[in-house]
Symmetry: C2
Subunit: 316 residues, 2 copies
């Protein structure tokens, strides 16, 4: 490790806030996590974050910037939080401005899916590509798009919501009125619900809690054909959304992360089969399907990478 500057990455989650000093893609010093829900109000929570940052700075003189990934709707240019999905009291909070005033460091703020994608693009599986699609598979299905070597944010920083795109124009109505949203088929809970139904249809009473993606992966490895068929169907559904991204954006790579992706080839094999069967040559010949390089640390690594690349420009 030379004298290059360090960045602090902050992964603000609904349960805990993780803060670390990051060198390239390595967490070289982690602060104790902050329990998000223990703080009733925003003010004390921000105080705790600032204290953590100051503790880390006391140990690392070369910290030059701070990046924060937030679970909600963020204006990246302004570093303004419009609102968070599972944490109340964060409407229209100028977090970048607040943290810059409190720490004296340049700060960037982005949403968590963008941070994870940025980590994969700059330091991980998507490194070196000009056009990359990132999909994150968990309770929610998130995403981000890199095209022409830039992150695509759109008019209001809303771009990349792959989980809300439809795979069935007549599908059931989702949270935003959108019919057939991908997330309503392949989110954690929806996979479990589909498996539960498939077992029941086959005359097997399997409790919902034994239908988690992890349990289904285990079952499929043991030869359970219903579980295997569930993974095939899940791969096909994901492939439809991914193929839409390919026809639209013609990316070099699709990077897939999140808990559900831990099913590995149970998911990746049918996904690739269905995807490649639905694309013409220029869209698939050089297309790479890549598992994400980073796991739980992707958010911190990406927030720090965003800070290194973007926080140095004043007023950004």
């Amino acid at each position: 490790m030379n004298d290059s500057p360090l960045a602090i990455g902050i992964d603000f989650g609904g349960t805990s806030i993780k803060i670390a000093v990051v060198y390239q893609s390595h967490l070289i010093d982690q602060a104790p996590p902050i329990a998000t829900q223990e703080f009733g109000e925003r003010g004390p929570l921000i105080d705790a974050i600032v204290r953590s940052v100051e503790d880390l700075r006391a140990r690392h003189a070369r910290i030059a910037s701070v990046g924060v990934g937030m679970p909600g709707f963020v204006n990246f240019e302004k570093g303004l939080i419009h609102g968070l999905t599972n944490v109340p009291g964060w409407q229209d909070v100028p977090l970048k401005q607040i943290l810059e005033a409190r720490t004296g460091l340049p700060v960037v703020v982005d949403n968590d899916a963008n941070c994870m994608a940025f980590a994969e693009w700059r330091c991980g599986a998507g490194r070196g590509f000009q056009n990359v699609v990132f999909m994150s598979l968990g309770t929610g299905v998130g995403g981000a798009i890199i095209a022409n070597g830039q992150m695509i944010r759109g008019m209001c920083h809303g771009a990349g919501e792959i989980g809300q795109t439809s795979i069935d124009y007549q599908g059931r109505v989702g949270h935003y009125g959108n019919k057939g949203a991908l997330e309503d088929y392949v989110g954690n809970n929806e996979i479990a619900a589909r498996a539960h139904d498939a077992y029941r249809a086959a005359g097997v009473q399997k409790p919902l809690e034994e239908c988690t993606p992890a349990a289904l992966a285990h079952a499929a490895h043991l030869g359970d054909t219903i579980a295997a068929s569930l993974w095939n169907e899940t791969g096909q559904m994901l492939a439809t959304a991914a193929m839409n991204l390919c026809w639209l954006l013609n990316p070099e790579a699709i990077v897939i992360g999140g808990g559900v992706a831990r099913a590995g080839n149970l998911l990746f094999h049918p996904f690739e089969k269905h995807l490649f069967a639905q694309l013409s040559g220029p869209f698939k010949d050089a297309l790479r399907i890549l598992p994400a390089a980073f796991g739980h640390e992707a958010g911190i690594i990406g927030a720090a990478a965003l800070a290194r690349e973007h926080a140095a420009q004043p007023g950004n």
Copy 2:
């Protein structure tokens, strides 16, 4: 008109090749169209194009560049034609290089959908926006994407194929193996086929040739409820593909052109209703749905605009 440079726009179609001198978005001098099929081979066809260009240059000294829109798969950077959809003998033709050598002018070559979208973006309905989606509705359903103020081309210049994106993961298998492709529902012929079926299901024998989009628009205006319902369904299908684009790219505007769009509000009203019902605030509050400003001339205007903006840079 001042002394600003002029460009020649060429719209290479499967039936005819249209060539004109373009000032801003105005065709100020049109060469006689060239009948594409009358030339058995590529060489004589290129000769005819070069003669047209030279005739126009003899009348307009300020012509500084040439832009060509081609109906097929084009490498924009190299100006290389990989192949054309309905014209044989155009595999791997370095058209930019050929025309530059023959005319001495800088030349750009792009596919026709990109040219039309570029016309709308730089001079037409999409002017001034940083993020625009363009949809062209005809026999085929084409498209193009502008994001972060740039045209998105992707790894192999294939991006923007909106007509190939799926609206039903279990839909019928299309030309490229893709299930439920939008074009297989709302292309000219597919609209006619769906109408034909709808009439038959209602006990009405209506010949397929009376089910063209133009005939269906006429019928709907006269109070034909089957035709009106067909337009509603078509609007819903289009809205699904458009909403996917909105969730993915969060554009300021969707610009819709092509023959089918001439149905006007018969199409636009259900399209907007279904689209806005399936988006959350940041994706729809400022979203504009705009009919294309240009009709048949969009390809020429866009090719010339591309030439003005990109052909000046040598080696581009």
